[in-house]
Amino acid sequence: MKNNVRCLILAMLLSSSAVYAVDAPEGAQAKSTANKSSAANRDWSWQPVANSGAPEVQQKKWVRTPIDAFVLSKLEEKGIKPSPEAARAAYIRRATLDAWGLIPTTAEVEAFVNDKSPDAYEKLVDRLLSSPRYGERQARKWLDLARYADSTGFQNDYTRPNMWRYRDYVINSFNEDKPYDRFIKEQLAGDELYPGDNNALIATGFLAGFPDNKNSRDLIQRKYQIATDITDTIGTAILGTTLECARCHNHKSDKITQKDYFALHSFFANVNLVENIPAPKGPVEIQYEQDLAKWEAATKELREKRAAVIEPIRAAAEQYHRERYLTDSRESIFKPKSEWNATDRWVHHRLANVTTEEDFGGYLRVTGENKDSPEHIKEHAEKWLEYKKLTAELKKLDKLKPKRGSNTISAMTELGYQDAPPSYVFFGGNHERPLDEVQPAFPAAITSEKPVIVPTGFSSGRRTALANWIVSPTNPLTARVFVNRVWDQYFGTGIVRTVSDFGRAGEKPNNPELLDYLADSFVKQGWSVKKLHKEILLSSVYRQSSDYREDIYKADPENKLLAVFPRKRLDAEQIRDSLLVASGTLDDRIGGPAVMPPVPTNLNAGAFWEVSEDKGDWNRRSIYVFTRRSVPYPLLSTFDMASPQQAHSKRDVTTTPLQALTLVNSNVVFGWSQSLAGRVISEVGADESAQLDKLYEILFARKPDKAERATLAGFLKNHEKTIQSKLKDSDGKLALAVPVGLKGDQPLDPVRASAFVDLVHTVANSNEFSYRF
């Protein structure tokens, strides 16, 4: 019971009384499968990708891309007709939300609807894919998998001031259409493979994003847990394999042994987090250094004085601090440098990185504060008081510290040595119970290939070998898992629905030929992500209408065959960012340090959430909002934002009263509605009918129908009365919420204008806005 195991018994637990049904999972599975499947069939995802070519279909005219033939062929087998094409306005709203994560502007909708050229769709898709908005949206999907955060997590939840560089790297990679194989290689081993390339160093932020508690007194355990986090993240995100199940025991459903697990784990035995690599000087770095210089100048004297207090006792303080680590950490810590092995180097690097001047102050406090303490040292009493005073004065100057940015790069890399610490199979996953030593290797059941490890000048070379295998043609998982994620993104469910479990406990592909076609053509087209997106966006499958069809509802209630385009609730970021677009307040600057928009005052997050000074930052896209592991940004977290604690495979869709409260009551959201109301009036003037048209065009890319128009007009009339009586009750003292950002000086009836704000706010709250159809 001594371990922090996440590993589990199988899904089969669900069945009746089988409490530990783990011994017979295959039996349980066989029962449910009509034909006993062969091992090869069950391990389908490990078989080579086989592109059988597009099937023959009858409705040849419907086939715009090979994708369509694969989908249509299944429909024709069932005698089902695909849906008609979606209206152009519906299509551009859908495609813009999917590719950019934003609703389109009215001008964009109009231009597309009126584009009579034969390649109107292709031009639109090319425009979508060449915009930086595309990279911002696609990066968010990847960051979910990379358990991206701007802080370490755990109780102290320190800011990681360099992580935004990794986030920008991911955005840029999608925008540049970096080949996916290169993208993976950079993230796993960029430091080894592309020496001298800062971007490749930053890319290892994928590894460096592990949750961390810097105050851990057990450094050996930390080392183990960090490598575990990395191994499991790669398993989930890239390989779609539940490797973590094999940490404590052999995998219960897939043929992955504990030895396989720790052989993979060992590729990361020698990686360390290095956070102080100088960054090239751009505007952010220059600004940061200017700000830092101000703080340094203002605090120079105080810091020197404080250092002078510590200096005579530094050795004792350091000794004291080091003694507070656990037994096995201390073995490394107190070993003479000449005797260090690879593990000791790791421990010392970590120790140096987590030890601060404050730790030495801690010693002074213990020995100086309380004269009744047996540890009390008389001469320290005064020193402690002096130290305390100086620290308090320094703290007052904290406000001068740079608020954002950094001048350094963080990377996961190695420390200049080719040898790595030994790796073991651990009994029950308990790192204090090593069994056999293991060497880096790939899972034997997936491949017979052996890693070819060539040490570099500064590192073990292990990660290069792993990265090369992960993206090699002999590994069919990587491409399959990725194309399936993209499919899932567009159609709401993957071809394999369990997007991060391609193993036996996961689901099988419902259209295996399509999956393999996509994987094969993805690799053949140079792992181009944009080409993959383009083919999907231009397919007839994607261009279908989402209108309800009674026949499909009966014949295929889950819409597995995609005879209707599936509607989808917007992700948290799509909702917020689209509201920003609608209200005309989006600040579309790309990249840079994370921002902190205002939060409700009763969030009580203290120093963990210091609202950005630049108000423009408040309206940046959600991907730039600071991800504090312990304080998720409320507006997004309510709408099922990704949890950054582990690789997040897929967004949940829940519908809750707290979401309704957020959209109805948040002053921020209400403010956007006021801006949207102002924008509508500015654009079309006082005519009510024109206002309603414009509002619907902005939010839904359509005009209101007759019934809606009547409902809205009726509402305005009644609502004016409600507001009038509110004013009467309050003797006219109560202020009204009116449209903001009006251009020109249009005469406004404040009551009517206030009623219109409420109308706008309510329409923005309606289902149609939070969904894409």
Binding site: M1, R6, K31, S32, D218, T493, N559, T654, V664, N767
Partner: protein, 481 residues
């Protein structure tokens, strides 16, 4: 689309689940989804059946933040007093890894007087005079064990069962498994004292890999406990009602084009629930209608006990309103010195004096009040902490962390009151004997009292059937009637 997808998917995938209802819900929340899908979920908070009849409806989970020294509160050790000042005999340290400065220090005893209370004769120190009056309502576990040397990871384990963030907290599991008994309020509420949320705290009430709808809702101090509960400043209630009526018409009109789409309908419903919550939540924490006697009972009249007493009284009101799980994190105590929490590495006398005072009367008041209102039999109260503190001293006046043997207790419905489970060695450092309770066992026991089998309370996540007790956990039957 995906109307009934998960249901069908799982049946076809052969998890041996015939006859699942349309909503895809099983007793104990066996909701069959790897990813929540509002359409199949219907109402994710709809009440769900238990595995067997529940003994209690609600749990009040008192997390003593910072780890109190239970050998200074409950676990009376005459030998510790005798041996105080001497180095701890090596035999007591067998099998444990100590961290402080390479070894343990001298045995330490604080300035306590001890007495037995009630018919059960349970020992209490002078730090908890009020709680001592309720000795016979309590079942003690004097042999709690856990993992960890630092607070954050052990607090995580106490609440989620893992040393790393990512797993659902116990309250999230319960909300998931039982749904809500009062749709006007969240079913899982977190209360904390002071004006700051506990640092890094929210992972301790996170839903982990469960859908976010199951996470704990932190009730903020003050009259408006939930974020975004108040209408925008310039919007009157009648105005908002108009707006919601319009919203309903618009949504009904629109969803008319998508018959059978339960997700769109659920969203319509959520706005009405939100509207009701706007008044129900402030009402739930509004103590103005409580009698003076009640306020006095909880210590609201005294500065030292007001904060915690307010939370205890709020907890009782939440229990009355059907909230399933109320997680109360103890807060800073009033007064000089380092009193953020119970973490008394030094000056234990001062620290524990203040913290014991802050919680003693309020918890005693809660027990008395629940009893008087007939609610004690349907409520479970758990005193829990991330670990205890060592028998040997630290800094001469404090104690270090002790995950090897410490006291926690349970009281309320289904609990064998007046008993003690397990024991520590003669100096109160390590649990000895067969009877020990790890956090997983505590979780299993709490779930059992709520009518849930911890082995069958499962959620399919990434192809694995996860449960609240990870791969561990045993119900401690000795604690149950």
């Amino acid at each position: 689309m995906s109307k009934n997808s998960r249901r069908d998917f799982l049946i076809k995938a052969g998890y041996g689940l015939g006859g699942i209802t349309l909503s895809g819900l099983l007793p104990g929340g066996g909701m069959l989804a790897t990813v929540a899908n509002a359409a199949t979920l219907g109402d994710p908070l709809a009440p769900k059946a238990t595995h067997f009849p529940a003994k209690v409806k609600s749990v009040i989970w008192l997390h003593m933040d910072g780890a109190p020294s239970t050998i200074d509160l409950y676990d009376y050790k005459p030998d510790l007093i005798k041996l105080a000042g001497q180095p701890i005999p090596a035999s007591f340290l067998k099998g444990i890894k100590t961290s402080t400065r390479g070894g343990a220090e001298k045995l330490y005893v604080s300035n306590r007087t001890w007495k037995q209370h009630g018919e059960s004769g349970a020992w209490f120190s002078d730090l908890l005079p009020n709680l001592a009056q309720h000795a016979d309502k309590i079942a003690f576990v004097k042999s709690s064990v856990t993992i960890g040397a630092t607070h954050d990871i052990s607090i995580l384990k106490l609440n989620t069962g893992d040393l790393n963030p990512g797993r659902p907290s116990l309250g999230a599991w319960i909300q998931y498994a039982l749904g809500s008994a009062n749709s006007d309020l969240p079913a899982y509420v977190v209360l904390y004292s002071g004006d700051r949320e506990p640092t890094g705290g929210s992972v301790n009430w996170s839903s982990g890999f469960l859908p976010a709808v199951y996470q704990g809702t932190a009730f903020r101090p003050g009259p408006s406990p939930i974020l975004h509960l108040d209408r925008p400043e310039l919007i009157a209630e009648a105005q908002q009602r108009d707006n919601l009526d319009l919203l309903k018409r618009l949504n009904e009109h629109h969803s008319g084009f998508y018959p059978g789409d339960t997700e769109l309908k659920a969203r319509l419903n959520a706005y009405e629930l939100a509207y009701r919550m706007e008044s129900a939540a402030p009402e739930a924490v509004d103590l103005s209608k409580e009698s003076d006697a009640t306020k006095e009972l909880y210590g609201l009249n005294e500065e030292a006990t007001r904060d915690y007493g307010t939370n205890m009284l709020r907890a009782r009101r939440l229990v009355e309103r059907g909230v399933r799980f109320i997680q109360v994190v103890s807060g800073p105590a009033i007064g000089a010195g380092d009193r953020r929490n119970w973490d008394a590495h030094q000056d234990l006398e001062d620290n524990h004096g203040a913290h014991a005072k802050a919680v003693d009367k309020p918890i005693a008041g809660l027990l008395a009040d629940l009893k008087a209102r007939g609610l004690l039999d349907s409520t479970l109260i758990v005193w829990a902490s991330e670990f205890g503190r060592t028998s040997y001293g630290e800094s001469g006046t404090g104690r270090d962390h002790n995950p090897w043997g410490y006291t926690q207790w349970l009281a309320g419905g289904g609990i064998k009151a007046g008993t003690t489970f397990g024991q520590t060695d003669e100096v109160g450092l390590q649990a000895v004997g067969d009877q020990t309770m790890d956090t997983y066992d505590l979780h299993a026991t709490v779930l059992q009292l709520l009518g849930l089998d911890h082995l069958k309370t499962t959620f399919l996540h990434n192809g694995r059937s996860e449960r609240p007790t990870v791969v561990y956990g045993q119900v401690i039957k000795e604690l149950l009637v």
